[in-house]
Symmetry: C2
Subunit: 412 residues, 2 copies
Amino acid sequence: MPILVMKFGGTSVANLDRIRRAAKRVGVEVAKGYDVIVIVSAMSGKTNELVGWVGETSPLYDAREYDAVVSSGENVTAGLMALTLQEMDIPARSWQGWQVPVMTTSAHSQARIEDIPPANIKAKFAEGMKVAVVAGFQGVSPEGRITTLGRGGSDTTAVAFAAAFDAERCDIYTDVDGVYTTDPRICDKARKLDRISFEEMLELASLGAKVLQTRSVELAMRYKVKLRVLSSFEEQSDTAGTLVCDEEEIMESNVVAGVAYSRDEAKLTLVSVADRPGIAATIFTALGDAGVNVDMIVQNIGEDGRTDMTFSCPTDQVMRAETAIAEARKENVLNFEELIADKDVAKISVVGIGMRSHTGVAAQMFRVLSAEGINIKIITTSEIKISVLIDRKYMELAVQALHDAFDLDKAG
Amino acid sequence: MPILVMKFGGTSVANLDRIRRAAKRVGVEVAKGYDVIVIVSAMSGKTNELVGWVGETSPLYDAREYDAVVSSGENVTAGLMALTLQEMDIPARSWQGWQVPVMTTSAHSQARIEDIPPANIKAKFAEGMKVAVVAGFQGVSPEGRITTLGRGGSDTTAVAFAAAFDAERCDIYTDVDGVYTTDPRICDKARKLDRISFEEMLELASLGAKVLQTRSVELAMRYKVKLRVLSSFEEQSDTAGTLVCDEEEIMESNVVAGVAYSRDEAKLTLVSVADRPGIAATIFTALGDAGVNVDMIVQNIGEDGRTDMTFSCPTDQVMRAETAIAEARKENVLNFEELIADKDVAKISVVGIGMRSHTGVAAQMFRVLSAEGINIKIITTSEIKISVLIDRKYMELAVQALHDAFDLDKAG
């Protein structure tokens, strides 16, 4: 039998009614002849409740106990889903991570899956079981303790199972019906993509499009797992949602696949830094040591042996960055006039594998923003992405203008 | 190090504050030099929530999935308790049933513990761990699936651990401060017992004194585990609560240890049954096959070849009993005039190992009830117990009169 992996997130299994709805979707695939592996999250809200209790009990908690507590939500859903399927006369049983076993590293709360031996579940399929319901997000360490994979880990569980069982496809059921050219909430011309390449999805995922966990996309790319994102709240056809796949499987596409944005980036400028060799290394070593994730960097050409150094980092790390810079100044390894933090910025990115073979995308992006009177503060580029930092008040305007300019409302 | 087992029920771990309170009690015992095994229930209400979800999903549920779902509540408490102890600088970790492992039969939802190999936990004690927090009520089957021990199973878990680890004592923390001579809610002279024998506790437990699970008392008696029942809501000394122990350890005691009652018993009378050999067997085989737990039985001497047969059973089984009797009549294996059910009755029992050597307890009991004008409907006796069925309206009066007559307000 061909194997299909289906993953249902927290909102898709939020209560018994929704579990029944999800189970019906599973039934449709079983009727087509698939052996199905269902990966479930905790009922929405449950994991937050458990995380809250752990934090209240012990602010600097033992991650092993955190994992033991927090993993219980998925176990409940797995059992309830198996029971629901049985009520529909579909042979099903639940599996907790240690029962499969989902073997992970010992890095509690952020463990990585090392192996998923398929023998136990395959033996049950051979005996006539049609659906294995697996608690997502969890595994077991070499020491026999329960581990979790970090927030959103159920996506990763699903892709890892698809790889381990050589599944035909991995369907991720969520509360949106696919991956869009941009956020429909700020651009009403946003269009659902039928297909998107792993590389593009990775850029979009890490840029703030919260549809899929970055790690799950990486894993899918490495093992060539066909990943489909679709809504659990709509009737589905075989071509519903968005297929995330190898770029070879995408016949034709726009040069730009999507426009992403992020509000969570702040800009910091060190004004009039004494410009001497190694000064950039000094600044970014200090920030790195303090755990600040620096994203974009730009250095203005200096005069009189002084320069301005501008960088961006997540908004919630600004205070940490300021402290690290102040420390470095106190220790006399850094000499500057002032540090200016600007949280009123946003990052806009255009992403597309077509950029590899098409020149002029950056120039067009800058022209579009300029025509709208939007000033660009920092620019970074990768092979398939161009990102700019702008004033936050222009964020929506920039997204809409770029979406129009690159014809994203029309299929490629 | 001597080992102590401490069990905390659902109300004793109902929220984070109560878990902290329980952890403090554990800390007191650790300070005395014990290695402690803590058995925890689910936070009160949690198991009912999970059981409700299972029932709503699947009325005739797969008990294996029921166990997988329902066991999760204890896992949460175990992790939170371990974290709380760690916050108090007490080296602790949690164990789920399969991690110990608590090996059980495959009788899901009512599994029996077969073995608890102590090696894993003992190795951790040897490494300096002071407290092993174990999720109660659960185990793992030979097939590697999660089992549960049935309602109240955490008491059984606690006693089984005390036996497996040769613990000095097994302390059961609950919401009452011990075992009483009778229910203080209906008799204000009720007195807490310092000690009670296993045999007496067994009779009281099965008679409706809901302090301890019957199975846990049986297990404690078999393995000579000293069992102490005490309140988690009061400051405790070494002699607090009630010690359930071998009768040899009770120096002197009253002839009667306690008065128990049960409202859950109904009386059924088959009027004018055709009295022929084997008629009792016919009636009680039919009832047994229908799953009716018959408790007391009395047969009136008949005239004209006919007799009256009276028996008692739990109130919620009356309808089942009536159906079984009606079936037998239809099949012509039973011939009687009418079946009268009386749910307005109560069972009153006096229990005490002293009865073995003291005669006249039954006579005194009947005199006391007669003096109060209370009519006795059925009588049964065992070596250490006398039970009578009376009109329910006299229940409180009977308990109070017997408590007085046997001097239960005074220590033996």
